[in-house]
Amino acid sequence: MVLAIGVIGGGLAAVLLRNVIHSAVAMMVCFGALAGTYALLGAPIVAAAQVLIYLGAISVLILFAIMLTQAGDANLPVPFQRQAPIAAIVALLIVGVVGWALVQTPWPNGSVIVPVDLNALAAAIFNDYALPFEIVAFLLLAAIIGAIYLARRPEEDERAN
């Protein structure tokens, strides 16, 4: 319950705060609470991956991007666009429709949490899910090359030539 409040509060703060750096820190709070939720749900491997990838890598990446791009926050502009009311209506519509589907579906109401069997998970990743695993590996390689190509400064080309 505390973790759920952390998730929702962190997410709301991330979306609503004016300063981008404050938003990024609120996002980290949200991700940390989510890692705790994964541990509660009997998936400590997913919780560890969440801490490593999101809290460790993606948050730092976003913070670096903010520091590289923000040139002094002397006067912060209004963070929302004029279409914010329409965006709120659309988001509420999505939540309403999916929530209605959630209420209508007869879910099994057992509350027993089955923990993840780590040995079975490892065997499944490298046998049944080997192809998605390899595709993800290739995608990460492509992303590295693409990020280097995109973030390179144009002047470095001229100096190299």
Partner: protein, 102 residues
């Protein structure tokens, strides 16, 4: 909390992320909101897996791990794009990227 509780938590997080993505002006904030939505989906997958809804093997946990890797790739390329466009346009506001309109 049972399965529905976690699903509603995931739905609320997704709604927050969708609202932020549609309404924020800063390009980096839009990427943060995409991450929030991806995490909401991950939470629902792990919840389905924990309550043994659809499979006996741990497909939900595996899917969420793969989604995390894809999200990392997306964040790298997205942030590189944002840095490149901010370097050329000198502003992170997406409203200002209107060259094609003129």
């Amino acid at each position: 909390m049972g399965l529905t509780g976690y699903l509603f938590l995931s739905l609320a997080l997704f709604g927050i992320g969708a609202f932020g993505f549609l309404s924020r002006r800063n390009a980096i904030m839009m990427l943060i909101c995409i991450e929030l939505m991806l995490n909401a989906v991950n939470l629902s997958l792990v919840a389905f897996n924990a309550f043994d809804y659809y499979a006996t093997d741990d497909a939900g946990a595996i899917f969420s791990l793969l989604i995390m890797a894809v999200a990392a790739a997306e964040a790298t390329v997205g942030l590189a794009l944002v840095i490149a466009i901010i370097r050329t346009r000198q502003t992170p506001e997406v409203d200002e990227y209107s060259d094609l309109k003129e």
